[in-house]
Symmetry: C2
Subunit: 125 residues, 2 copies
């Protein structure tokens, strides 16, 4: 199973960060339809958040039709969720959020956007 990670300094709420990582995982095939996700309590312990926060993330994904929860058993990736897990629009939204967050932090530290982009270009090798 994927390594889930939280950025506690990000303004993006935890439940959203969790949901985004599940979506991304399903979208690129790292999590397959039918797979069982970590239990609510397990995920909560690993990420050091309240179980309710994980519940919120999972519920959100169930509303989107990506997950299927079976009481007493676990939370599973819905069959047929693979292809449509992330529409192009949602992907763009996620990327937008990510970049805005990043640029905001960079500017707070006094970096110009051009300077940042240049640095990233270097990282491409």
């Amino acid at each position: 199973m994927i390594d889930f990670v939280l950025d506690k300094r990000s303004p993006v709420p935890f439940y959203r960060q969790i949901a985004d990582q599940v979506l991304a995982g399903v979208s690129r095939g790292a999590i397959a339809p039918g797979d069982r996700l970590p239990t609510i309590r397990e995920m909560a312990v690993n990420l050091e958040v309240n179980p309710n926060t994980v519940v919120k993330a999972y519920s959100y994904l169930e509303m989107m039709g990506v997950l299927d929860t079976q009481q007493g058993s676990g939370v599973y990736v819905r069959r047929g969720a693979a292809s449509g897990a992330l529409s192009e629009t949602e992907r763009r939204r996620m990327l937008g959020d990510l970049c805005r967050d990043f640029v905001g932090r960079a500017q707070t530290l006094g970096f110009d956007l051009a300077e940042v982009v240049e640095r990233l270009e270097q990282m491409r090798g």
Copy 2:
């Protein structure tokens, strides 16, 4: 004076977006030390936010030592706020850390570095 803009869909709070733009402006010389910023009420009207939100942004910047407010007169950029307190080495290290962190998060969400850079280029408008 700079064109201040808010992204209302961003998870970054308004007061922080305002503060970031002031910081960036001062940092790159678009706002000079001694310059008078837009008044609280004026800024609030332009950005369509509550005056209290602008107050919060300005107060935040005053705590950082960037601004100097004079009751009844206006809010000014502090003399000596321009020259950064960071050495070039420290700046480069901070930028490196920031970028590595960012790239890691982007990859967690399944984005390719090239794709991310392209998106950032767009944000330069």
